[in-house]
């Protein structure tokens, strides 16, 4: 079926060329050119790592599929230079409303404060996301080879890495890789080929997704109904997408016949019941699905690493699938680049399994709880669920029990191997393992910008200099080559080139002005002198006082160079 206003684009690729130079082995081969595989390729390319991406198709997703992209995902795509294009096209939202029948039970705002570059969510069809990522990948012609209609037919683990047999339009070929990233989706052929079990819970409930095009005045909010008046089922969900397309998700019950329910003559009356008879509506795409929550026991199998849906799947309520996969890419790629450059031991890749396994568990837990709330399986469950719905209108406590989806938030990696224990646990601000929060700042040239634009990419020491210019002696003894970003509380002169006289404290130090004081507040600058930020913008460590030795130790630990000893010490 077509997408948006045009047919799906078709891509072609020239026959694979032999790598030049010494080794014929590719550093990284990504299997699957979906949002997660493409994000991996671009992330690795920004770190100078050459990548081959193999995809057995030659186009983008059919149907809208994943549509809700979280703030954290947008921030990752900002780092990769493609966030703005996604936001420009996407539909921005942060408010959700939950109804019981016709009555609104409550309204929530996922980003109730200002001072963030990115909204809580955008809605954007997966085919646009893939199209924009493919376009961005083309900015790295020396590093990213996208190979369409290249289907992996066999995979052999060797002493040096992985050998892939690949069927191409020009015949069969083999490809040697140091690392393979399996981003080949929920039904991952790589997972099957390697005989890996995918244990989890299958839910019997069936749901209908209908993407309809119409001019309608639904608000740009996530609308969720329990026991809607327009639909005999248990629940319905509505999201606005770009191009006047709306996603409507109808809960059908466990007995629904998928073949029957996806017929337009069955779908359209359901749609008509919600939008009325007068609005012109066309059906863009529909699908009947059931789902499971499942994960691989381990995401890393030698030199084969599973990312995204191939590693873990969840129910769609909460937008934790696609967003979880993008965070997988964000977590893995800097580690892989360090290992490939010989700057970190191969064991660092095990921390991808540790950290993203933890995240997958969190996503599965949240998603399963939502599903259990939406699909009571016994009379007792039904009484409790209905009790929550009926109490929620009157009693605020019942609104917190009401579970219409716990939407994707960045996972905290607190307490895991790479993070240094928090010396100031009472202080405000992100704790070791948390992802950095955004804040408005002004750069040394006087331009308004965002703190997150200066964090991530490489290890960074984020220093809060207080009201005055930072004392250069405080920054001595730091690990050589560590990027420093100094946030000063107050300008010493405004405006012009002399805004931040501290700019020359150390070569390569970036100076930012906390013009509104928001950054200092959000990072507890009164108690925290500095944060060590990982390349994925998670906090590795924070410090009450800057101490070169402690920063050096935290950096080594965060690179996996002393994980074992650091664990023993902790």
């Amino acid at each position: 079926m077509s997408h948006g206003l045009s047919q799906n684009p078709r891509f072609s690729s020239a026959p694979m060329h032999e790598p030049t130079g010494g080794s014929r082995r590719r550093p990284v081969v990504v299997i699957g050119a979906g949002p997660v595989g493409l994000t991996c390729a671009i992330d690795l390319a920004t770190r100078g790592v050459p990548v081959v991406v193999l995809d057995d198709d030659d186009t983008v997703a059919t149907g809208s599929r994943a549509i809700c992209w979280a703030k954290r995902t947008l921030e990752i795509w900002d780092r990769l230079g493609i966030g703005q294009r996604m936001v420009d096209k996407g539909v921005t939202w942060s408010v959700g409303r939950v109804f019981h029948g016709e009555q609104e039970l409550y309204r929530f705002d996922l980003l109730p404060e200002t001072g963030h570059r990115r909204p809580a969510f955008i809605n954007l069809q997966q085919y646009y996301v893939e199209e924009y990522l493919i376009a961005r990948a083309a900015d790295f012609p020396e590093l990213i080879e996208l190979r369409w209609k290249h289907e992996v037919t066999d995979l052999t683990r060797t002493a040096e890495g992985v050998r892939l047999a690949v069927a191409t339009p020009d015949g069969a070929t083999t490809l040697d890789a140091e690392w393979v990233l399996a981003a080949d989706g929920a039904r991952s052929p790589t997972r099957t080929r390697m005989g890996l079990p995918f244990p989890g819970q299958r839910f019997e409930e069936r749901f209908l997704i209908a993407d309809v095009r119409m001019k309608a005045d639904f608000p740009t909010e996530r609308l969720f109904w329990f026991e809607p008046t327009f639909h005999a089922g248990q629940s319905a969900l509505l999201h606005r997408q770009p191009d006047d397309v709306f996603r409507i998700d109808f809960q059908l019950g466990p007995e629904a016949d998928p073949e029957l329910e996806r017929q337009p003559e069955r779908v359209m009356p359901r749609v008509r019941a919600i939008v009325g008879e007068d609005t012109p509506v066309s059906l863009e795409w529909c699908s009947v699905y059931s789902f499971r929550c499942a994960r691989l026991e381990r995401f890393v199998h030698g030199r084969v690493v599973f990312v995204g849906d191939s590693a873990h799947v969840v129910s769609p309520f909460g937008a934790r699938g696609g967003n979880g996969g993008i965070q997988d890419a964000d977590n893995l790629c800097w580690k892989l680049a360090l290992v490939l450059r010989g700057e970190a031991p191969e064991s660092l890749i095990a921390t991808y399994d540790e950290e993203r396994g933890h995240a997958a568990d969190e996503n599965i837990l949240n998603s399963s709880r939502t599903t259990n709330f939406m699909t009571p399986k016994t009379r007792a469950e039904r009484h409790l669920r209905d009790g929550v719905l009926d109490l929620a209108a009157e009693a605020p406590f019942a609104r917190s029990l009401l579970n219409a989806g716990r939407l994707s938030r960045p996972c905290s990696l607190a307490g895991l191997s790479l993070q240094t224990p928090d010396p100031v646990p009472q202080a405000a601000g992100p704790r070791p393992g948390d992802v950095c929060v955004d804040a408005p700042v002004v750069d040394a040239a006087g331009r308004a910008g965002w703190l997150l634009d200066s964090l991530g990419g490489s290890f960074t020491l984020l220093v809060f200099a207080g009201a005055g210019a930072p004392d250069p002696s405080r920054l001595s003894g730091l690990p050589p080559g560590l990027r420093c970003v100094v946030v000063a509380g107050r300008p010493l002169a405004l405006p012009g080139a002399e805004v931040l006289p501290g700019a020359e404290v150390l070569p390569g130090t970036e100076m930012l002005l906390d013009a509104e004081g928001v950054a200092g507040l959000r990072y507890g600058a009164g108690s925290c002198a500095a944060y060590l930020i990982r390349p994925d913008a998670h906090v590795a460590a924070r410090f009450a006082e800057i101490d070169g030795q402690r920063v050096t130790e935290a950096l080594a630990r965060a690179c996996g160079r002393s994980v074992t000893s650091a664990q023993e010490a902790a």
């Binding site: 009484h383 409790l384 209905d386 009790g387 009926d390 109490l391 406590f397 019942a398």
Partner: protein
């Protein structure tokens, strides 16, 4: 951190009979199905009053321990 524990002693301060009567009266005129619905709502309201999930778990464990083994609808833990 200290984990709060479930009160198993008498918390009714001499008003136990009145409390019991209140519970019974709550179900007057209700069908079995309506009573089950009422109990579910009471559990939710009182669970919020308790707050601490650890205490709630102890209450559930006590309730399950006290189930009559002859009742075929209820498996023992």
């Amino acid at each position: 951190m200290m984990t709060a524990s479930l009160r198993q002693g008498d918390g009714f301060a001499g008003r136990a009979d009145a409390v019991y009567e209140t519970l019974i009266r709550a179900h007057q005129t209700l069908s079995d199905e309506e009573s089950a619905a009422l109990n579910a709502r009471l559990v939710l309201i009182l669970a919020n009053e308790v707050g601490d999930p650890a205490v709630l778990e102890q209450a559930i464990a006590l309730a399950r321990r006290s189930l009559r083994p002859a009742d075929p609808d209820h498996a023992r833990p």
